[in-house]
């Protein structure tokens, strides 16, 4: 169980940077993912949490090479076959890797082309990779639908004939169609009603066992993450500020931002969320700061936080990006 399936090193993604050509001046652009490194172990569920705009979705997409990373490496090691650096793999190798490395989208509505029937959407990868057609395809898609708890006959419907939860099941079925090893679930349940969220999460857990899946689970909802993940990374403005076992993180949060997040959790009283430590104060997201990125919002910030980037420290099993990790 300790085998590494995904190794991410110094992954950086910058948007809108220009080198300064004939007709444009040099711009630094906006750093969405800032030198992120982590490992995902086979069979675990690795969670990434953060607010909107923290760069978690970009990170997920860079791993899959939906976006080209600006620098860094993403090494994917399937059970059979060579390890592959997805960050600069050629397209044909990427396509092979994508069979083992799938994605569940946040918005089931947007990710399912409304003009195609379920059989063509869910079976699209199968048609392409295995050349399945007709009965064989129907058989496989039928099996997939059943495994996500949908009726086999639904395969002839159009996606718009389904409810939100059902659609997300379709998205899951589609992700599973090629027997993947690693599934990146980008806010897979956040678009769903709370009751359906729970059902879907349970389904995911069941499927993880059944298919021996590894999940990279991206979410902004701490409760969901706590429920499903083995390890959790907290992302703030493009950086992992804390990575730890789920229990450790929720038990003893080390980073002030993690604390702020957890303080904001009580869902029952939305007004309380607003009072969370500086969490709602908007700061220009694009502006680079010299020191700690969280410093402007941090209740513990001192002189050094304004001027010097904090180092990554390992404190009792948790990696924390803070000058005062362990002290506060």
């Amino acid at each position: 169980m300790s085998e590494t399936i995904l190794e991410v090193r110094e992954l950086t993604k910058t948007f809108g940077a220009a080198s300064g050509g004939l007709l444009s001046k040099k711009t630094d652009g906006f750093v969405a993912v800032d030198s992120v490194s982590f490992d995902v172990l086979r069979g675990e569920t690795f969670g990434i949490v953060g607010e909107s705009g923290s760069g978690k979705t970009t990170l997920g997409r860079c791993i899959l090479r939906v976006h080209d990373p600006s620098s860094g490496s993403v090494t994917f090691t399937p059970k059979e076959g060579e390890a592959l650096d997805l960050a600069d793999a050629p397209l044909d190798q990427l396509r092979k890797a994508w069979r083992k490395l799938r994605m569940i989208f946040q918005d089931p509505q947007a990710s399912l082309n409304p003009r195609l029937r379920v059989i063509d959407v869910v079976g699209q990868a199968l048609q392409k990779s295995e050349g399945l057609k007709g009965k064989a395809l129907a058989e496989r898609v039928g099996g997939l639908l059943e495994s996500v708890g949908l009726r086999r006959e639904f395969m002839h419907r159009y996606p718009n004939a389904f409810s939100g939860g059902q659609r997300q099941r379709l998205g899951i079925a589609r992700a599973l169609s090629t027997n993947p090893e690693l599934v990146v679930a980008d806010e897979a349940v956040s678009a769903l009603d709370v009751s359906i969220q729970a059902q879907t999460l349970n389904l995911l857990q069941d499927l993880q066992e059944e298919y021996a899946l590894t999940f990279l689970f991206i979410a902004h909802d701490l409760a969901v993450v706590e429920h499903i993940c083995d390890r959790v990374a907290v992302m703030y403005r493009g950086q992992f500020v804390e990575v730890a076992e789920t229990a450790a993180l929720f038990g003893t949060p080390r980073h002030p931002y993690t604390r702020a997040l957890l303080d904001a959790v009580p869902v029952a009283d939305p007004r309380k969320r607003r009072r969370g430590a500086g969490a709602a104060e908007p700061v220009d997201v694009g502006a680079p700061t010299k020191g700690c990125r969280f410093a402007p919002r941090c209740p513990h910030a001192t002189e050094i936080c304004q001027t010097t980037r904090p180092p990554l420290r390992n404190i009792s099993g948790a990696d924390v990006l803070c000058h005062f990790a362990g002290e506060i």
């Binding site: 909107s52 979705t57 997409r61 899959l64 939906v66 396509r95 994508w98 069979r99 799938r102 994605m103 989208f105 946040q106 918005d107 509505q109 947007a110 990710s111 399912l112 082309n113 409304p114 003009r115 195609l116 029937r117 699209q124 990868a125 392409k128 990779s129 002839h156 419907r157 159009y158 718009n160 004939a161 389904f162 409810s163 939100g164 589609r174 806010e187 956040s190 678009a191 769903l192 009603d193 902004h220």
Partner: protein, 381 residues
């Protein structure tokens, strides 16, 4: 990333009512039929193309045949009751003959309907020879005087005594096909260039955008005039016609290319396109299976809206005298011929008849396009 999209809930609620197997085209059709005027317009447009196709059959007279006894003859009504020998009225579809008086001093002809002179009318009557659908030689016409030697001008006659109704009918073929051919050219050029521009982006997008910007910044009429004047005079009318069509379609493709580009740009980052890519589909497969179907309906709507623009563009060309050459007749040339004070005063039907035809056809096409556009994206709202 936004939270729960309330629109999707609305959609979900609606989808309960939606029959299971209703596909996107069926949905569009349902939506389209709700737009009553558009639905009605579909039939008008269908009828107009029917007229274009069966022009000779539907025209009561040879559209080129002049008549010294009928220049500026006014429209003749259709009457139902005619007196028989006993002086009683009986049912007879007929028109009344025209008596012409020439006023040489004012250089004018007066026409008076002569109730005595009855010209019986009928369906499927004999008339001038033609080939139905360019194939079947025949001389049958849908409606007209039973005696082929008689002349009746339902919408009046022009300065050379030619039947305006027949000329409008025959002009339909030219005008409507100018729209179609022009739109086809715009479609091919616009979709390919717009697609390239939007899908690949980068320098090629920039280049194409500059070309479009450049073309749009030149006023169209000088452009047309320069190009039209460069057509060699010894070309046969049909080739000239084709080139005129191409010139007219210059206005269409830039708009279309911009639209297609915009669609590509916005669709390129849609989740279902990303998903398709992750499913292993190639660029070409994505364009074919996902992108093109997604905006095909929009394109169809835009094209429907472009056809009337082409028709109007041709009338402008004709007005400037650089459009079609006689004996080819189009709505534009008919309108141009009637574009003078003398016609307004003496023979307003020469202006009203083709004018109304153009307005009705253009209206119908616009409503059709409008309805198609509203229906184009059944998932939009």
């Amino acid at each position: 990333m936004t939270a729960i999209d309330s629109a999707s809930e609305v959609q979900a609620a609606e989808s309960v009512k939606t029959p299971d197997l209703l596909g996107p085209w069926a949905l569009m059709w349902r939506q389209f039929r709700r737009h009553k005027i558009a639905y009605f317009s579909l039939f008008i447009v269908g009828f107009v193309y029917f007229v274009a196709l069966f022009g000779e059959f539907l025209s009561p007279a040879d559209y080129l045949k002049t008549n010294t006894r009928a220049p500026f003859a006014p429209p003749q009504g259709i009457h139902f009751l005619a007196p028989d020998e006993d002086g009683d009225s009986r049912f007879l579809l007929h028109a009344r003959g025209l008596k012409m008086e020439i006023d040489r001093e004012a250089m004018r002809r007066h026409f008076v309907e002569d109730p005595e002179k009855v010209i019986p009318l009928g369906f499927f009557v004999k008339g001038h020879e033609y080939k139905l659908l360019w194939l079947m030689p025949t001389n049958r016409h849908f409606f007209g005087p039973i005696d082929p030697k008689q002349k009746v001008y339902f919408l009046g006659a022009d300065r050379l005594g030619r039947d305006i109704l027949s000329r409008i009918i025959m002009g339909t073929r030219i005008s409507m096909s100018i729209g179609l051919v022009g739109v086809a050219v715009s479609l091919i050029v616009g979709v390919s260039l717009g697609g390239i521009s939007g899908y690949y982006g980068g320098w090629i997008d920039n280049l194409i955008q500059r070309v479009i910007e450049f073309l749009r910044s030149i006023p169209t009429i000088p452009l047309w005039m320069g190009l039209a004047a460069a057509i060699p005079l010894d070309w046969p009318p049909l080739r000239t016609y084709f080139v005129v069509t191409l010139i007219v379609s210059m206005i269409g493709w830039t708009t279309l290319a911009r639209e297609v580009r915009g669609k590509f740009l916005s669709l390129r980052h849609e989740d279902f396109v990303v998903a398709a890519r992750l499913d292993g589909l190639s660029d070409w497969e994505i364009i074919r299976k996902h992108l093109v179907p997604s905006f095909a309906s929009h394109i169809i709507a835009s094209l429907t809206l472009a056809v009337p623009l082409m028709i109007l563009a041709e009338t402008s060309l004709s007005f400037l005298g650089i459009g079609l050459q006689p004996p080819i007749v189009s709505w534009g040339t008919l309108l141009k011929e009637a574009q003078n004070i003398r016609t307004i005063i003496e023979a307003p039907w020469l202006l009203i008849a083709p004018g109304t035809t153009i307005v009705v056809a253009v209206l119908a096409l616009n409503f059709l396009g409008d309805g198609l556009r509203d229906a184009a994206d059944p998932y939009a709202n």
